[in-house]
Amino acid sequence: MNAVVTATGLNKTYKNAHALNDVSFRIESGRIVGLIGPNGAGKTTALKAILGLTDFKGQLNVLGFDPRTQRDQLMEQVCFIADVAVLPRWIRVSEAIDFVANVHPRFNRAKCEAFLARTKLTPNQRVKQMSKGMIVQLHLALVMAIDARLLVLDEPTLGLDILYRKQFYQSLLEDYFDENKTIIVTTHQVEEIENILTDLMFIRDGRIVLDTDMDTVGERFAEVMVSSDKAAAARNMKPLDERQVFGKSIFLFDGADRATLESMGEVRRPTVSDLFVATMKGTYA
């Protein structure tokens, strides 16, 4: 497998906060990686480092380039959608297309226009006349028409309604993603991407606290619903988390023996949000 991103010992401090604290990870080609963490955990700093938008200490290789010194070459292969609107309010759809066509060598105008034809956007429309969902549609159309190997999405669906959110990921899977492309996405809406991801990374206080592929999540972690008479036995097995539902206890285990768990109650795979809550316990306390 060839690595798209290799990070070793990344460190970044702002005045008094450690935004990245000895962060190391590796992302392979053809993966969809979810980078999940609470506010202020270092997600955006990590993405900015990958995109060459911030300085840092440590080693980072993105598609064979060092983002600090080879940003121009890197940008031909990388696309980015941020949670903050970056399209100028005065620009028209047609002008935005012309602009990207002029600055980006790997932009496919026909593909962009075909995608926009399936939306309600018209060439003369200005960004300031659009809803937030429409702006994201335009942004996505511009980005998906660029044949980039790495797509970085920072809270891409923040503030969108359910229809636009679903359509966003549907378009990505239908018109963009293939085994030669790689997507890194951060979001707080984990339930809408958890089946799309191939890999999961949790970041907390500038550290990667979980880095695994989704198949392993299903093998490693298990939730078991236990009636009160067996709760003490379950508690002895050192669960990551415990919560009460309808007089029963739900325990979340990391690496516990399947057969033992099944003898105690109904076992199921935890959702990413359950796992997240258990892992991040005490973050704001």
């Binding site: 549907q170 239908e174 089946n195 795979r269």
Partner: protein, 128 residues
């Protein structure tokens, strides 16, 4: 399309079961193409690898085949093979428990046939 996945079974297995049900119901006929991996991934908002894994199991079970450059197709005889294995599975796994329950309730064949829903009795001369 929105469907709810069950947390206790991997999604690729559930997807496989859906295709199996579609073949048994005749929604997918022998020789029909399966929807593309990309299409299924986009429609259900799941990772393409998950879809590929489900399709690969169907290939391993000799229910569908990959035709180079064209995609996946339901094999001739897939429905028959499925019916056979599903009947065997029913007789092995479900029938003993069902039979025991019928015995316990004292239900005989005649009563059961009389009470059978009209749509299910068919025309094979099984009138009481």
């Amino acid at each position: 399309m929105t469907i709810t996945w069950n947390d206790s079974v991997p999604i690729y297995r559930q997807l496989r079961e859906r295709v199996v049900a579609m073949i048994l119901d005749g929604a997918l006929n022998e020789g029909d193409p399966l929807p593309s991996v990309r299409q299924v991934a986009a429609d259900f908002q799941i990772n393409p690898l998950t879809v590929s894994k489900a399709y690969q199991e169907l290939v391993d079970d000799q229910l569908v085949e990959k035709r180079r450059g064209l995609g996946m197709f339901v094999i001739d005889g897939a429905r028959e093979a499925l019916l056979r294995s599903e009947r065997e599975r029913f007789l092995r796994e479900e029938w003993p428990a069902l039979y025991a329950r019928l015995q316990r309730l004292g239900l005989d064949l005649k009563t059961l046939l009389r009470e059978a829903p009209e749509s299910a009795t068919g025309n094979e001369g099984s009138q009481p």
